[in-house]
Symmetry: C2
Subunit: 356 residues, 2 copies
């Protein structure tokens, strides 16, 4: 087998082992800024007076994504988006990301091309570029992605600054990504909802949106002097609330009737209302922001987020309390939220949950 | 099986799946600066006027390391060192690193503890701290490590600035890591050399040293106004020379009789002199620096590096030429160096090469 010449695009189904490492690197460099690559590391010049934010996430085939649910472009988009979402949760704007790719030699070139196209599309939408990477062979496909962003020191969002009386605001629907995963694995499920909603679910799962628009809205509202606790809801809405409370040494009352349940989840006969609420709280991977902030600011932010349409799923769903319990008020019951129903690596059976 | 209480150290052989994710995170946070962790990302305040350098490397079990050759502590040390070495090759000093760990649930806690101990030992030696991480389950152990450093803009080392007439300087022995790997896989090999040399080989393989001492020596020699092309020799000495020449649009004459061949490789009956030279040029993973710099500066740097003892393996081994060929002068022959004999992922059979 003769190695593909550097610069020539190989036939789509060529296994990357046959492309060869040097030719592969040359092909992938097309997706990179030539000023950033070609050295042992990439040089980044930070904006004067700004801090840097760094966040990392690993993605493993058949754990975080699978061929059945996530085409290559969507894996690339997601790999970028989940890391950018961590930057948004810190109030930062993106500079770029690095990629440590561990790939089987049998992987078709087409997959890698699709992956890079998806990643670059996400970066083009939200900002940032590929700052460098590393290729290794591996029996299974594993991606280590690290995102780098910048934030003004007074605008950084942290988990630990929530105070009693703060309102808890979610920036969009929860449970939609979980529904998208279910529908992709089992198209008979949720067949009683319109295809527009099914597409919305699939998009929520395959092409999550890091919420930099929320970061910008906060900057407009408060300039440099906001106290906002934040994290993203990658591990589920309940998990985010619990982590924020734990980090801030507070508790919360969650108003069950204010939690937006996605219209499709209410509509489908495949779920009871309780199941729909369960997916909303524990589904995970919606990559919305969960914010704790003073009531007046919460109302102002909500108004801003709802301007794009009432169907955004943004809502104020509860308030921070002095008492350390995190309680869901649901039909006059008070139900403690628990971490343990959120996704736990190594304890969730594969069949139960296709991705993180 | 009851999950281990957060804060309690589990018995060493406990599979991490039984420790549970929350307890595991709490245990691993002991290795981190509490000011850096607990949010979606870590905040880093860059030194005023300095640029940042970011570099990433993936490590895959049974590709880059194996139980037979690399205990957990050494994997941790190596994972930090290979990434810090990229910073050294850029002339940068370390800030810290992030870790995306993909781990099988059956992995004993003891391994992870050893890994973190090794990583923290390396960071304590060379600088930097753990800036954040991510845990995923995976059928095989994969590590995505990203190092962050800082460099004054005028002191950054690049690959592309070599000029004809520059001397090529290597900062230490090559081939020793390759010998260490061979000896670990096959203790009968190289049994005719003293155990001190065998230990040196194993150390070269298991505990490579990023050459920040060389970066400091360069700063002392030239302050802010040096032109030095550099990269590390992670993929082999020949590969480094070829990459530097390619990036700078130049060629090189390598003086075969000036290439330091490790005394143990000369001494053992297990290798001919030609095989010893081959390992020196193509063995890989020595993580020395290969520098192209004006002759006078090269001599001054070499003097500085040799002060610690003549046995450092540092040497001036050739010069940069206008002609683009990279030729090894060996016993009145001129032999072109080739990339293809260096390690190529997906083309090197596992048995031939245990690691990158």
């Amino acid at each position: 087998l003769s190695p593909v010449r550097a610069g020539a695009t190989p036939p789509p189904d060529t296994p990357i082992a046959e492309v060869g490492e040097q030719a592969l690197l040359a092909l992938l460099h097309r997706y990179c800024n030539p000023n950033r690559i070609g050295d042992d590391g990439a040089i980044v010049t930070p904006r004067a007076g700004y801090d840097l934010v760094i966040a990392t996430d690993g993605l493993v085939q058949d754990v975080h994504f699978s061929e059945a649910t996530t085409p290559a472009e969507a894996v690339g988009w997601r790999a970028a988006a989940v890391n950018l979402s961590d930057l948004a949760a810190m109030g930062a704007t993106p500079i770029g990301l690095t990629l440590a790719l561990s790939l089987p030699g049998t992987l078709p070139w087409q997959w890698l091309e699709g992956f890079y196209n998806g990643m670059v599309a996400c970066l083009a939408t939200y900002g940032g570029e590929i700052l460098g990477g590393d290729l290794s062979r591996s029996p299974i496909l594993t991606l280590g992605v690290t995102a780098l962003g910048e934030v003004h020191p007074t605008q950084a969002l942290r988990r630990s600054v929530a105070q009693p009386g703060d309102r808890i605001l979610v920036t969009g629907w929860h449970g939609a990504s979980r529904a998208g995963l279910e529908w992709l694995l089992n198209p008979d499920w949720g067949r009683d909802v319109p295809s527009t909603i099914q597409r919305e679910w699939v998009n929520a799962h395959q092409r999550p949106r890091p919420r930099f628009d929320v970061v910008n809205a906060l900057h407009k509202l408060g300039g440099l002097s906001l106290r906002v606790a934040a994290m993203d809801s990658s591990d589920g809405l309940a998990d985010a609330i619990l982590q924020l409370c734990r980090a801030s040494g507070v508790g919360a009352n969650i108003w069950g009737d204010r939690i937006p349940i996605h219209p499709g989840l209410r509509q489908t006969q495949s779920l009871t209302l309780e199941q729909a609420l369960d997916w909303t709280l524990y589904g995970g991977e919606d990559f919305e922001l969960v914010l704790c902030l003073p009531a007046q600011l919460a109302e102002a932010l909500l108004t801003g987020l709802s301007e794009g349409g009432l169907e955004s799923g943004a809502a104020i769903i509860g308030e921070i309390t002095v008492e350390p319990d995190v309680l869901l008020e649901w039909h006059s019951q008070q139900i403690p939220l628990t971490l343990s129903r959120g996704f736990q690596h190594w304890s969730a059976p594969d069949a139960d949950r296709g991705s993180q």
